[in-house]
């Protein structure tokens, strides 16, 4: 029995997201609502998405602003409650772990790194308090000496000095602050880190330092990452699996090499073509048509059809579902029918 259980844990993914949805109600002034007599507008920020992340692997979610990728991150760490669907972490439902007022053992296994290291650290707290907070808050470590030792250990792990514990956030550069964020996230020895654009606010040389650090930590500690980013080059550097999001849905999900060498969905192709070429190999950026539509009035059928060069009548009416096409998952009628060049 126990052997059977152990075997199933070995093979099952660490994180499994099932039909996750989040709908936000858009506030409309009371008077306007009374006059127009219309129901409150809803935004489907995350619309029925499913994915799984294997232990020690990195899944990246990529997409333009407003596609719902940050909402997914917030749903996974319990900062938002899903409207429908759920998250299984190591075979158990995460929503109960995040119920308020309970220090569940699951909770310390999931942590988050935020985008802006200037906003995610309390400017009036010393580094020792910031990094030590998760430990104190959940009562996992007590005693000042033990705490100080643990903080020094964590700071060393991210390449900061033990003396930095007494400093305030403003005494650090952006890259060093993001290291403090990472140290705080690692305080409880988590297995799964949700990283919401962790390098977007950083300069490219500092971004390289943080990406290298994250990869080293993943290797040495067997961490599992969900990595949210809008930058495809960063995603290529860090991910094993990539999900491309558009208007709250995953439109393509593939293994990294497959996605970058043989993208299936026209939106993925468009994103890849839109990246400026740093090496100056002579490849020109393809001009991209249009912009992301207003999520309050998403187009009928496939959400991408107004910008898609391959859209036909079916795309305008019927919404495509994720289907396996040559080993990758893509939600596109044209790809499925073999209409794509």
């Amino acid at each position: 029995m126990s052997a059977l259980k152990a075997a199933s844990i070995e093979t099952s993914p660490l994180v499994e997201v099932r039909n996750l949805s989040k709908t936000f109600v858009v506030p409309v002034p009371f008077l306007e609502r009374m006059i127009e007599r219309r129901p409150l507008p809803l935004v489907r920020a995350v619309d029925d998405i499913s994915f799984a992340i294997e232990r020690g692997q990195t899944l990246a979610l990529v997409g333009e602003s407003g596609c719902g990728k940050s909402t997914v991150a917030r749903l996974l760490v319990g900062l938002l409650n899903p409207t429908a669907g759920g998250v299984l972490f190591d075979g158990q439902d995460l929503s109960s772990a995040f119920a308020p007022g309970r220090a569940s053992p699951q909770r310390k296994r999931v942590q988050m790194i935020f985008q802006d290291p200037y906003a995610s650290l309390n400017p009036r707290w010393r580094v020792a308090d910031i990094v030590g907070e998760p430990l104190v808050e959940q009562g996992w470590l007590s005693g000042r000496l033990a705490l100080r030792e643990r903080v020094a250990e964590l700071l060393a792990l991210v390449g900061l000095a033990a003396e930095d514990a007494g400093k305030l956030p403003h005494q650090f550069s952006g890259g060093q602050r993001q290291r403090i964020s990472i140290a705080r996230a690692l305080a409880t020895n988590p297995e799964f880190l949700v990283c919401d654009e962790p390098t977007s606010a950083l300069d490219v040389s500092v971004q390289a330092q943080v990406l290298n650090l994250m990869q080293d930590l993943q290797r040495s500690r067997g961490l599992t990452y969900l990595f949210i980013s809008h930058n495809l080059a960063v995603v290529r550097q860090i991910s094993d699996q990539v999900g491309v999001m558009y208007l709250g849905r995953i439109v393509e999900m593939a293994e990294r090499n497959a996605l970058f060498s043989r993208p299936k969905h026209p939106y993925t192709r468009m994103l890849l073509d839109a990246i400026p070429d740093v090496t100056m190999s002579g490849r020109l950026r393809q001009p991209v048509l249009g912009e992301v539509p207003n999520p309050l009035q998403p187009p009928a059928g496939c959400g991408f059809h107004p910008r898609c060069p391959h859209a036909n009548a079916r795309c305008r009416i019927e919404r495509p579902m994720l289907k396996s096409i040559e080993g990758t998952l893509a939600a596109c009628h044209a790809a499925e029918e073999g209409r794509l060049p």
């Binding site: 300069d203 490219v204 390289a208 080059a233 970058f260």
Partner: protein
């Protein structure tokens, strides 16, 4: 062709109660008509400040303490305020990073365009409106006549940035300072905006000073690039030379730290440490504490720009008198 803008040994200091800090040190460059010169570097390197100094919009406590700025053969850094104001907008346009803060939320797009044009050009209201429609169409906005009646909040980010570009171009300036014009935009819209700027630069013979932290944007748009570090230009030259064969170790590090889109995935090159803050700039070459190729001389003596092929680089590695 003689340069349209010439900046010669520009120095900018920040004055405070505790003395003054040097923010820009000995910055020299020139831009010819129809040329796009990129400025790249990490935050705090002084790229935006250089742009602000050129259009005479330095923050209250910053002062030019040395050097000259010459526009079209005429020195402009010592002009009285009202003359600088006339130059700005009419001759020199500016595009800033955040399109929402550069537009007035209380006025329609049309009002703002017409006001700008009539301030600088002798046009009637009707002429200005028809020119505004032409301008918006030129920047790729469809249904321009209807857009004129809209307010900034009714437009998307990409649309707003097009309006900001139209505003900057309204008085047909010969020089445009574009400070991170695409940083707030998504990559698909970014490509559209850069294509627009390139086209205007080519068609109108406009000179552009493009400030950005994105080497990719520089690579696809600029003719030449200046790499800044701690308030100085450390390398300047044709884009292809600087990108494919960087002469300064800092530029090489910067290029290596960009995750590649093709080929094998390896560990990224990382430059350890961070850029020094003003006031704490090391002696000698400011980059020496982070440089893997430095030696004694770099700690003591500050290198000036030296010719390396078609570029110039401020690094002792390229000293022609160097032996061994």
């Amino acid at each position: 062709m003689s340069p349209l803008l010439e900046v010669d040994r520009l120095c900018v200091d920040l004055g405070s109660r505790h003395g003054s800090l040097r923010l820009l040190d000995d910055v020299s460059f020139a831009i010819a008509p129809g040329e796009m010169l990129g400025f790249v570097g990490e935050s705090g390197a002084g790229k935006s400040l250089t742009g602000s100094a050129v259009i005479g919009l330095l923050e209250p406590h910053c002062h030019m303490t040395g050097g000259r700025i010459v526009y079209d053969g005429r020195r402009i850094d010592d002009l009285p305020d009202d003359e600088v104001r006339r130059l700005r907008g009419r001759q020199i346009g500016a595009i800033f990073q955040d399109p929402l803060t550069s537009l007035n939320p209380l006025y329609t797009i049309g009002h703002q365009l017409v006001e700008t044009m009539r301030t600088h050009l002798a046009l009637t209201e009707a002429e200005a409106i028809s020119r505004a429609v032409d301008l918006l169409e030129e920047t790729g906005i469809q249904g321009a006549a209807q857009r004129l009646r809209q307010y900034p909040h009714q437009l998307s980010g990409g649309m707003r940035q097009r309006v900001v570009i139209a505003l900057a171009l309204a008085a047909e300036p010969r020089l445009v300072i574009a400070d991170e014009p695409t940083t707030a935009l998504d990559v698909s819209v970014q490509a559209q905006v850069m294509a627009l700027l390139r086209r205007l630069c080519r068609d109108r013979g406009m000179a552009v000073m493009l400030v950005t932290h994105d080497m990719g944007v520089i690579a696809e748009s600029c003719d030449r690039v200046a790499v800044m570090y701690a308030g100085r230009i450390v390398e300047i030259g044709p884009v292809r030379d600087v990108i494919q064969a960087p002469a300064h170790p800092y530029t090489a590090g910067l290029m290596g730290s960009i995750p590649p889109m093709t080929g094998e995935r390896g560990r990224l090159v990382q430059i350890d440490g961070s850029m020094p803050r003003p006031g704490l700039i090391p002696s000698g070459c400011a980059f020496h504490p982070r440089c893997s190729q430095g030696w004694d001389r770099c700690r003591i003596e500050r290198p000036d720009l030296m010719a390396v092929g078609a570029s110039r680089s401020a690094c002792w590695l390229h000293d022609p008198r160097r032996t061994g």
